[in-house]
Symmetry: C2
Subunit: 187 residues, 2 copies
DNA sequence: GTCTATAGCCCGATAGAC
DNA sequence: GTCTATCGGGCTATAGAC
């Protein structure tokens, strides 16, 4: 049955999001998943292997979410702005970005690459939209769209940091709206 | 003697930066500081108390660094850009922002407030400079300077996240330069 | 002030029964 | 596939000697 393995992955996704890699123990995963020790180690050789499976699923989910959001007939710059304004549980932060704080994740290629790839793929989508916006005359043509796409992603990631420090979503909204105002002023 | 307490604080600053709160054990602090168990618990009642002292020192250091940087005769917008371009060990990330990933830090007011205050104080400085720039005509007057200040801080924090995921400082530089291009286009 | 010893619990993983 | 038992070690803290 795949049901235990699946439950373990989902639970690990949750715990990695809430507590990070170092802060998540196999025991905690088993308890929340309602799966025994023997079962867990039957399906995954180690905590790292399970974490990798969980990361890959979270990464796929994030990328799909963005691709669904971008698949609309709206003007390209409007789609980027919609991405910045996407409804989120702001104080929970980003399930992907959160893991970059963890030195054990960054030191292990298998755990780091899903994070890098997620940002690269979303960044490529954003960059493509920004180039479309330039072609359509809604964004200044002198701007470097690839760079600017990274600015867009960075504002989201950093806005989570400010929100968590303040224990308030206000700084998140401000940071994002500040960028939108700059982008809109570039017509 | 204050020398043991001081050494403990400095070492804890380093370890919190490298490994976060959950990832830093009293044992690791003692070993690196060259201070015994008994000595540590004589000076600090708990890991949390020591972490708080370390945070407060890191916060003060960050604020001073920014205030020193801003205390120049340069044009206000140039000072904000200089802040964005400040030389940093990019892959190490931000010693303050890093801690927001830690749920135990966010759940404990004593550990969270130094983070919030750091961003608020630096944000206030940046906002003041942006308003000066608006008065001087180097930044569009219609922009909300307080919001935009948070965008500036968020780009820095988020740029660290992208850089660590990529194991490269390139995304950091891109994100920051993307914002600078937008700010410069607002003359 | 700093030392060593100890407490009680959790860590990540393995072994072998069922 | 899942169970329980066990391993060697680390966790945060306290106790009491020096």
């Amino acid at each position: 049955m795949n049901t235990a393995a699946n439950k373990l992955i989902e639970t690990t996704q949750e715990l990695l999001w809430e507590r990070g890699y170092v802060g998540t123990s196999p025991r905690a995963i088993q308890d929340r998943a309602g799966v025994g020790q023997g079962s867990m180690y039957h399906h995954f050789r180690s905590k790292a292997a399970l974490a990798q499976a969980a990361e890959e699923r979270s990464a796929a989910r994030s990328i799909e979410e963005v691709e669904r959001l971008f698949d609309t007939p709206q003007a390209p710059l409007r789609r980027v702005i919609a991405y910045l304004r996407l409804e989120r549980d702001i104080l929970k932060g980003c399930p992907i970005g959160r893991l970059t704080a963890d030195p054990e994740v960054i030191a292990d290629e298998a755990l780091r690459l899903p994070l890098r790839d997620t940002f690269e793929r979303i960044g490529a989508h954003v960059a493509a939209l920004l180039k479309e916006a330039q072609a359509a005359g809604t964004l200044a043509p002198g701007l470097d769209a690839d760079r600017l796409a990274r600015t867009v992603l960075a504002v989201r990631q950093g806005a989570y940091v400010l929100a968590r420090a303040a224990n308030s979503s206000a700084p998140y909204v401000d940071a994002v709206e500040g960028l939108i105002a700059l982008l809109d002023g570039q017509a």
